[in-house]
Amino acid sequence: MLNNIVSAISSAASPITLLLLVVGTGAGILIGAMPGLSVNMGIALLYPLTFAFDGVQGIIMLLGVYCGAIYGGSISAILLNTPGTPASAATTLDGYPMANKMGQPGRALGLSTMASMFGGLFSAICLMVFAPQLAKVALTFSKAEYFALALFGISIITSVSSGSVIKGLMGGALGLFIGTIGIDAMTGKMRFTFGSTYLIGGISFIPILIGVFAFSQVLASIESCFDEKFEKKDVKISRVLPTLDDIKRVAATLLRSSVIGTFIGCIPGTGGDISSFICYDQAKKWSRHKENFGNGEPEGIVAPESGNNAVSGGAMIPMLTLGIPGDGATAILLGALMVQGIAPGPLLFTNQPVQVYTIFLGLLLANIVMGCFGFSLIRVFSKVVNVPKEILIPIIFIMTFVGTYSYNHSMTDVYVMVFFGFLGYFMNKTQFSMSAIILGIILGGTAEQNFSGALMMSKGSFSIFFTRPICLVFLLISVLSLMSPLYGQAVKRIWKNRKKSS
């Protein structure tokens, strides 16, 4: 055991490996920050490079890309209100207000960097300590449990739609509807395709994301330019590390989100997008500053960012212990490992312990390098807030088109992006929540497919949802979460009265 760790350290800490790690992480952060370039795309792009290196060196570079890209998405989410990857959509809710309305981009980026690093490190340690046990838990998830988990995710709509709950639910319903377009994968039948080849595949998610967040933001900014004289905000960044007060305030959230993120990561087929929303929701429910959510609450930044980076270590668990990838990114990593003669699966830990420990160390180092990059670049990134709008808006405007087109090389995607951009603009004006639509689209398909799949397994009997304990627990939490606006006020009143009387 000790021998293995020592030889793992010597191979993970070699200069070439560290250099590759720095290159990979840097590239990952840039890829993540660009809307339209996804984590999977980044890993797939750098994947052929791993052939050139021996053993796990190339793999460690890919781990850097993986962690960096998840983190990078938060930078554009905070500064531009445009999530760089779907996993950072929840970060816009509080990150953008803190960076712009409150004029504290340094604080927001510092918090998100700290949270990403903590979440990543936490999940890497979980991977080392609990991998075999967590893999067993993940395997108990069948279609009924996936449905319940997705339903729980959807029920969060009531919590992320800060304004009107009714409008949140309406937005969520729109998202669910968009998710039904295309081939129904369970039966192979067409739905709402009207003979169009583009619609067979459903409306791609990335163009919608860029449309409703970035394009609509551009339109809104152009409008506000007319009656607003640009004032240079007084952004003084005296420190990039979060203050002790902030750390104390978010400590509990940080830990909770990391646990949730790691757990969600280790369930195959789920990822950073659902994890970040669930973490945001839980942070809000447990927070002492509930009212401040949506206005630049530190916990609202820390929760999704630690939650999505914690997915990285979690997703590695089924990949390494079972040979089953947890998401698209780990599927490519699995291939890269196999090229190097490392065969993930139940035998990996006994047959190739040195390689396993090297990968563990690589993941830890990747998160540390990512944090160093983040903290040292905060001052540079923060300047974006002070770029005059007449310069910044055209740049974002072009980026929305480039990002959308580069995603699939399809002009139809660009039209879809523009359409949803205008839709998003008007929905923003009427206080609809974008996050509710996004949640509906992300989770609608998963919920539906697993609902009908579970019924196929039970031959149409609904008892399958009530006889399986994990499934039942998630269903109960979803109902409680969905109904929370109805009883939330009452509970608060009772709580206050009790406090007064005591």
């Binding site: 192979g188 080849t197 195959p268």
Partner: protein
């Protein structure tokens, strides 16, 4: 000073852009080639196409392959994109066995005739995989178990009407049994998780996603629907050996849109041949759990045409349950 440097860099960049624009006039290929893979990154189609292209690139000078994944619509969108691209050799694509099925499912009018085949590096057979501690140890014993428990054995597939689902229907028809079809539309990784977790009883699918579990002894493979035994699973008999002529293979081929000139096609086929016959490339494929094929040009086209005829019959005779 700074402005001057920027100006120099910009003019160099613009000049370079102009030059690459002119490049297309020379011998093929003189510019980067886009390859559309109609499946997600990391799957068998993607891995084998990227593998083939990596080794083809070594025989090319000055041209690179840029792969884009478009898994939308179960792959229809990406294949249509390739078919509709200019036949100038700068857009190629991968097509999969589903191309021979979609046209019978009213999903598209596209057929294999819209393409010219370059090479077929992969043709994974359907393998019957079950839990290692299951009471059956051969295809016949499994079938007997299905007969005793009609309509209860749960067999995972990667989507209703997709290839592994059809393999299951063909087996039901051949042996006269009925099983319960459970779709996992996100692909074989999800089937692997479900069968390892004990949620389903069996699957008929490409064995590569299950190899680690088979080697670890948690799953076992009872039979493969291929013409010959697989190198990866030398002890597993084919269905044909047991007297049932079932061959279901998930192939993927590198193709060009129809109409590309013969000379350019030959360049691509030669490069693919050199790549697929090299030991490096074969080793790479095996390390990914994929049995490499080396069907070039007409040989690949023949497989595409044969399977088209087979699925035509399948869709005419089997009534797919709603």
């Amino acid at each position: 000073m700074f402005k001057k440097i920027t100006a120099v860099i910009l003019s160099v960049a613009m000049g370079a852009a102009l030059l690459t624009g002119c490049g297309k006039g020379g011998a093929y290929p003189s510019d980067d080639i886009e390859v559309i893979v109609p499946k997600g990154a990391g799957g068998g189609t993607d891995t084998s196409t990227r593998g083939l292209l990596t080794y083809m690139e070594k025989n090319f000078e000055g041209a690179k392959f840029n792969v884009t994944n478009n898994p939308d619509g179960g792959g229809i969108t990406g294949m249509v994109q390739t078919a509709e691209a200019d036949a100038d050799g700068y857009t190629l694509g991968a097509v999969t066995v589903e191309l021979d099925m979609f046209c019978f499912q009213d999903k598209t009018d596209l057929t294999y005739e819209s393409f010219d085949a370059i090479a077929m590096p992969i043709g994974a057979p359907a393998a019957l995989i079950v839990q290692a501690d299951a009471p059956y140890n051969s295809v016949d014993e499994f079938v007997a178990y299905c007969q005793e428990n009609p309509d209860t054995v749960q067999v995972g597939n990667s989507g209703a009407g997709a290839i592994w689902d059809i393999a299951t229907y063909l087996m039901e028809q051949e042996y006269g049994v009925t099983v319960s079809h459970i779709p996992y539309p996100n692909g074989t990784a999800d089937i692997a998780a479900a069968i390892t977790g004990g949620h389903i009883d069996a699957t008929l699918a490409d064995p590569s996603s299950f190899m680690t579990q088979i080697e670890a002894g948690t799953l076992k493979c009872l039979g493969v629907m291929s013409a010959e035994r697989m190198t990866l699973l030398p002890d597993v008999p084919t269905f044909a050996e047991e007297g049932h002529d079932l061959v279901v293979r998930a192939w993927a081929a590198l193709v060009a849109p129809k109409g590309l000139d013969e000379a350019s096609l030959q360049v691509l086929r030669d490069a693919a041949k050199a790549a697929l016959e090299s030991d490096e490339c074969k080793e790479y494929f095996l390390s990914q759990g994929i049995e490499p094929l080396d069907y070039i040009g007409d040989e690949a086209y023949q497989v595409m045409a044969d399977d088209y005829a087979m699925y035509k019959e399948v869709f005419e005779t089997i009534d797919f349950a709603e």
